[in-house]
């Protein structure tokens, strides 16, 4: 799992720089203008230029002056309740039966010998839930209004004092309520499934003659060894977990439930900077095709990666007996070296004034897993070059609560790669259940967005067409990163037309297009830019569903930080408003009885 750079922004940083004031406002204004122009053109074709202006402005006036203030909660509730009853009586609960059946037979397909069984189970239930719920949202939302139009039941509703706003909101809320009920049930079942799935017990196996160490029985495809101190002890870590071992009065060893499988680590991220080979501020090395923000440092040089953490207080780290650090760094080898040991590095804790620093804490990089280090509070180090005993929180953390952690590569000729999220301080744990709830909230938001889109499309398209349109948004939202890269021009090879010429003429993507006709080349580029800009706007307007999927956080044991949830909620509300307004305009200007 990778934490992307923009996911580390705090809510307000994101709101101001990535969404609210810039993007959101621009998108809102642009869409409003575009919507007005399109409505005016359609209306003009029907009524002529001056009448059209009157019609369009009247709809806007009615929304703001009449329909929005006149919207009644009781009517919205009545319509939502109707949508709920409709869905239930159309037997959507069958979805629940499918889910239960999937869980019942899941055991046949999930490998009990997997290295991280919790991760496997969590990914499985969350993926299963999200597919079922999104499909449900898709079918519920796209077919309801068209079915009402076809059966003309909507005529009995629109001849009551019902506003178009109420019809749209009623549908959205009703279907969301159905989805929520199902999602909550699936969530509870999933939780039970995961908890029961990882539960296993060992018996005590061979015990050493002094009774202070031993081995457990081989169960669930593994066995542990354990050490006792007094009547209590712990096993070693196997497949991501340990067990507590207790010795009872009659000399029996009891091995407890697995611990450490269901985590919700709360990471404290820092800002990452690099020094160059001369030890001066610089940027890290790029060793080839890598994510733009992943950089490397060279072994046995003065290059280092420097994380600066803020607000480092003992109270945030369970009293501060140790400073827990977790890291997952990459290694890049230029020579085979000691392939068994792995690439080595060192951690140094430093005061921001550079005069106080800890001794080097060596480590061997564990690629593709999380390396946990507990740095003791008291450790040796130096002040102005003089060796002293230091206390991390009293001596190394500065008066503003800032702490620098330097990482160096100590293996000559090898490189260590890192991005800002790859090393963090672990500030305790949130509870797994709460984290799973936040993961399911992500699925809920995706479902809500699908329902909003489905209802919006169904106000002017027939059921099947609305479904295809919603599905297109879903697919683009989930898998549209390539299309988005084409639209932004990040993918080499130019725009759609240029690429289309490059394929049959077998021109490489990295060289300039050469057709022997500069005017033609220029024209193609201009047209391509136009297409790309249009694509860009369209893709920007489609919610990127992938972003809302936080199941990886749950599966890999990271707490879904509240800033991320707040950000997703903000986007959900923004899309809800946008789709509702569009749906309102289509419904308001549609002849209900003409269908």
């Amino acid at each position: 799992m990778r934490i992307e750079k923009d996911q580390m922004l705090s809510y307000f940083e994101w709101l101001i720089f990535n969404f609210g004031l810039l993007q959101g406002a621009i998108v809102a204004v642009a869409l409003s203008l575009l919507g007005f122009v399109v409505c005016y053109l359609v209306s003009m074709a029907r009524y002529g230029p001056s009448e059209a202006f009157f019609h369009v402005t009247r709809v806007i006036y009615e929304l703001l002056a009449r329909d929005l203030p006149g919207t009644s909660i009781r009517r919205v509730y009545a319509l939502a309740r109707l949508a709920f009853q409709e869905a239930i009586r159309r037997r959507v609960l069958v979805i629940m039966a499918v889910f239960i059946a999937v869980l019942l037979f899941a055991g046949w397909f999930l490998d009990p010998a997997a290295d991280n069984i919790a991760q496997l189970y969590i990914s499985f239930v969350m993926t299963g839930t999200s597919y079922l719920i999104l499909l449900l949202g898709l079918f519920l939302s796209c077919f309801s209004i068209p079915a009402d139009m076809k059966s003309k039941t909507i005529q009995t509703i629109t001849t009551k004092p019902v506003r178009s706003t109420e019809i749209v909101l009623g549908r959205i809320f009703g279907f969301t309520a159905v989805g929520t009920v199902l999602l909550v049930s699936m969530g509870v079942l999933s939780y039970v499934f995961v908890i029961r799935g990882i539960e296993h017990r060992h018996e005590s196996g061979d015990i050493a003659s002094d009774g202070m160490s031993g081995e457990t029985s081989y169960d669930a495809s593994h066995a542990h060894s354990f050490e006792m101190s007094g009547d209590e002890g712990t096993t070693d870590e196997q497949k991501g977990h340990r067990h507590l071992v207790t010795r009872t009065g009659d000399g029996q060893y009891v091995i407890g439930s697995p611990e450490g499988l269901l985590n919700a680590r709360i990471p404290v991220y820092g800002r990452l900077a690099f020094t160059d080979r001369g030890g001066n501020p610089g940027i890290g090395l790029n060793v080839g095709y890598e994510d733009e923000y992943q950089k490397y440092i060279e072994g046995t040089s003065l290059m280092s990666a420097i994380w600066t953490f803020s607000n480092v207080q003992p109270s945030r780290f369970g009293g501060g007996d140790t400073l827990p650090i977790e890291m997952s760094l990459q290694a890049f080898r230029t020579l085979k070296g000691d392939i068994v040991t792995g690439v080595q590095g060192a951690i140094i804790l430093k005061h921001t004034n550079g005069r106080v620093e800890s001794e080097r804490i060596p480590f061997i990089v564990k690629e593709f897993s999380v390396d946990q280090k507990e740095i003791p509070r008291k450790l040796s180090g130096s002040r102005d070059g003089e060796p002293v005993e230091l206390d991390i929180f009293d001596d190394i953390v500065d008066e503003d609560g800032k702490l620098e952690i330097h990482v160096r590569c100590t293996d000559p000729g090898q490189y260590l790669g890192m991005s800002a999220a790859d090393l963090y301080l672990r500030a305790g744990d949130s509870t797994f259940g709460w984290n799973m709830f936040k993961g399911f909230l992500g699925i809920w938001m995706q479902m809500f967005l699908i329902i909003c889109l489905g209802v919006m499309f169904s106000t002017f398209l027939s059921g099947p067409v609305a479904m295809v349109a919603t599905m297109t948004c879903l697919v683009l939202g989930f898998f549209g990163s390539l299309a988005f890269d084409v639209a932004t021009g990040d993918t080499p090879g130019g725009g759609p037309i240029e690429s289309l010429i490059r394929i049959p003429t077998q021109q490489g993507a990295m060289v300039d297009l050469d057709l022997g006709n500069p005017v033609l080349e220029k024209t193609i580029k201009i047209v391509d830019n136009g297409i790309m800009y249009t694509l860009f706007s369209v893709f920007k307007a489609i919610p990127s569903f992938g972003q809302f999927n936080t199941s990886d956080y749950v599966a890999y044991g990271f707490d879904i930080f509240s800033g991320l949830v707040a950000r997703h909620l903000t986007m959900t509300i923004a899309y809800f408003i946008l789709t509702s307004v569009i749906a309102y305009f289509f419904l308001k200007t549609r002849e209900i009885a003409a269908a």
């Binding site: 009517r75 009545a78 409709e86 003309k152 005529q155 509703i157 001849t159 009551k160 003409a594």
Partner: protein, 307 residues
């Protein structure tokens, strides 16, 4: 004949209750177009009518004459191509006018998965009614339309006549001032049909205005105060039913207890006076009267239900 040229054939004031105009259409026209905006059919051509408070106004015409189109334009379910329609002085597209309207569509377009109680409760909620009032009204209306024994059955199990009844109940749930009924007696048996007509007259007597459209001529004749006859989207006739139907050069005499001799004397008198006896016979009753005499005690509400 264009609508604007339609002549009011009545000689008296159109209605004696009140002269307030409830529905007014001005030059109302509707052209249906296809997807590309090409004209398909002119369903209604410049209609000018006024429906006044407290009258039963009938829209009469064969299939495809523009009756339903007119009703839909008046309710804002369709948008006019030309002209405008006003209800209670408000534009037809203003939803707030619906507070005072009850509408029974051609076929009762109701949610089949709801039962009678849920249906009325749902539509009452759409009028923003509090719970107590909803309960009281739906109880009263279910009883009134004779469905109290089937109140818990889903509408999908209802017969066509029962569906019309619950449709009527939902149209009355807000105690409307204007009732718009599209083919109100379709699918009803003679008893139901008679009850419906009696109810329409009773509602009129309570001061409500009723606009109904039908091609059941007998229904229109029985209940309507005024009618507009539409044909191919044009208004062909507009006026009071009694004056429209009056055959001015024929005189009808109803008498009982006279002998054949007296009849002959009357005929003789007419002939002597220069008149012509067209027919002199015993009147026949209508099939509806005959049927109602036979089955008068067997109302559908009293029939035990399946459950």
């Amino acid at each position: 004949m264009s609508a604007s040229a339609a002549v009011e054939t009545e000689s008296q004031p159109s209605i004696d209750v009140d002269s307030d105009v409830v529905i007014e259409t001005r030059n109302l026209g509707k052209i249906y177009r296809d997807f590309w905006g090409r004209k398909k059919v002119a369903a209604l051509k410049s209609l000018d009518i006024e429906v006044k408070k407290g009258e039963i106004f009938g829209l009469l015409g064969p299939n495809g004459s523009g009756k339903s189109t007119t009703i839909k334009l008046i309710q804002g379910l369709l948008f006019p191509t030309s002209g405008r329609a006003f209800v209670f002085g408000k534009d037809a597209r203003d939803v707030t006018k619906n507070e005072r309207i009850g509408y029974l569509p051609e076929e009762s377009y109701l949610y089949k998965f709801l039962n009678a109680e849920e249906t009325l409760d749902f539509y009452a909620r759409l009028f923003d009614m509090p719970a107590g009032e909803r309960k009281e009204r739906s109880d009263r209306l279910i009883r009134m339309v004779g469905l109290h024994q089937a109140r818990r059955r889903q509408l999908r199990e209802y017969s066509k006549g029962m569906t019309r009844r619950i449709g009527l109940a939902q149209a009355l749930v807000n105690e409307p001032d204007l009732l718009i009924l599209d083919e109100p007696t379709t699918g009803m048996d003679p008893i139901g049909s008679r009850e419906m007509k009696d109810l329409i007259i009773k509602l009129r007597d309570e001061g409500k205005t009723i606009l109904l459209c039908s091609h059941q001529l007998a229904d229109v004749q029985d209940v309507c105060d005024r009618v507009a006859i539409l044909h191919q989207g044009e208004l062909r006739e507009l006026g009071r039913v009694d004056s429209l139907l009056k055959v001015r050069d024929v005189t009808e005499v109803h008498a009982t207890g006279i002998s054949d001799e007296t009849k002959e004397k009357i005929a003789e008198l007419i002939r002597n006076d220069g008149g012509q006896v067209v027919s002199m016979d015993n009147p026949t009753t209508t099939m509806e009267e005959l049927f109602l005499d036979i089955v008068q005690d067997n109302r559908p509400g009293s029939r035990p239900t399946a459950n």
